[in-house]
Symmetry: C2
Subunit: 269 residues, 2 copies
């Protein structure tokens, strides 16, 4: 753990990250001393900081801190939080505070290997995401909706929950981005009103462009999702999970998801 460049696991109770969730974060995978797609994550961090008016720490500074961390912890889940820092009391973000940089490393979760191969069982969450265009797409620290959604089930066989927004559009998993395959084309939810636009979502789009597979981000509902030829979920820790079961539908062949998965995993090496 590294807090503002120094080893430690504590932060001020006046940090706006705690007070208001006034900050952003990234979750990366480290393999043999290398943080996967660090620069893509940094670009997202920069974008998200800008959206909240937080001065994003310099890439050289963060890269140096990350390297220090990787020397001690070459493998696992690396989390980086950047908050607006400490300020005076109250909501208005003063110009003065120095953003806080918080690094943490955990062991890789031991997901069953089957999930990536044969697909996962997913469920539909009851919680509906609220629409807030000003925060949509941003990986910020206001994550109570995800917490409440993830609290809906305890069955360890259910790997992920699918979230709709209030009007019923499919948005994402509780901790992953979602794609469907229909007639050989990819479709992923439009995230202009809610959801988190992750790095792996962008990489899947990159794969599609490179392989001349049509890929659009647009609104669609549950009926369209359940009618899909394939569904898959992605994030930087799980990689890609095809969906084997959702509501009363099951799937067993994932030809496109498999290609994407191979490419995502290969590009890890």
């Amino acid at each position: 753990m590294l807090v503002n460049g120094k080893p430690g696991n504590l932060i001020s109770i006046r940090d706006r990250g705690l007070l208001y969730g006034d900050g952003v974060f990234r979750t990366l995978r480290a393999i043999q001393g290398k943080a996967q797609h660090w620069l893509l994550h940094y670009q997202k961090l920069q974008h998200d900081c800008a959206a909240l008016g937080i001065a994003c720490p310099d890439v050289a500074l963060l890269s140096a801190e990350l390297n220090d961390l990787l020397v001690q912890h070459p493998d696992g889940v690396v989390k980086l939080i950047v908050t607006r820092g400490e300020g005076t009391r109250g909501y208005p973000p003063s110009i003065l505070p120095i953003p806080a940089r918080i690094w943490d490393v955990s062991a890789m979760p031991d997901y069953p290997a089957d999930w990536a191969i044969y697909g996962i069982k997913a469920r539909l969450c009851q919680l509906r995401l609220s629409q807030q265009p000003r925060l949509a797409g941003i990986k910020h620290l206001n994550r109570l909706e995800n917490v409440l959604a993830a609290a809906e089930w305890e069955d360890a066989d259910i790997a992920e929950g699918v979230l709709l927004d209030a009007p019923g559009n499919v948005i994402e998993g509780t901790r992953s981005n979602l794609f469907l395959v229909r007639d050989g084309a990819l479709l992923t939810p439009d995230l202009s009103r809610c959801g988190v636009a992750g790095v792996q979502r962008e990489r899947v789009m990159e794969w599609a462009a490179a392989h001349n597979v049509p890929c659009r981000a647009e609104q669609f509902g549950l009926a369209e999702l359940l009618a899909a030829d394939e569904i898959f979920l992605v994030n930087s820790i799980i990689g890609l999970w095809p969906v084997r079961e959702l509501q009363n539908r099951t799937w067993s062949h994932y030809p496109i998801a498999r290609q994407v998965q191979k490419w995502l995993n290969h590009a890890l090496d």
Copy 2:
């Protein structure tokens, strides 16, 4: 400052309050060693913890901590944060974590005395609050909307911003609850889809009931707000501020607001 019963101003970077805004808070005023309406605040804390599935710390424990704090800091703004505590990595809230108790004291802000007497200049915020019935009314730590709204203006003459929700219903101030007076009756926004239901809002309702003044919580829009005979804002730190100016309307007499204000202030003693 007091963190989990011990003097200190630091919290773990693995506390879910920081990671996800997974917690609730209260802001109280201390006067001469007494925290105003502590039990009302505790009831709200208990309600809000229950809504998030957080085990609310016992009133005896919190009261004892508060008393310790007040011995050293008899006057000022007391903030209490209760988070879900530290857990394992990921959104699902495990049953195990012990909620964190965080106390902080600051000096009372030096608002111009005129504001409570002659009323304030308020502005309409551009940011629209999102609707999330599962979180509505709760004073939780996901406060980025308030931060963005409060960042919209720098003019120190503007004391508060009024927030609408996405469909255009009036909801609250960025840090206060709102009432309007029309034909001798009080109206306050329905907070079942967004907003924070504060202790002073409840006290105003209590005043109305005790004085046979009709008071309803219901949906209304900006036109209805601007057509009001009086508008006033309340919270535990500012007390009551009548609104003197909003959009192109001005007000100069606050007969009902004045009665409520006297009662709120008197009950402080």
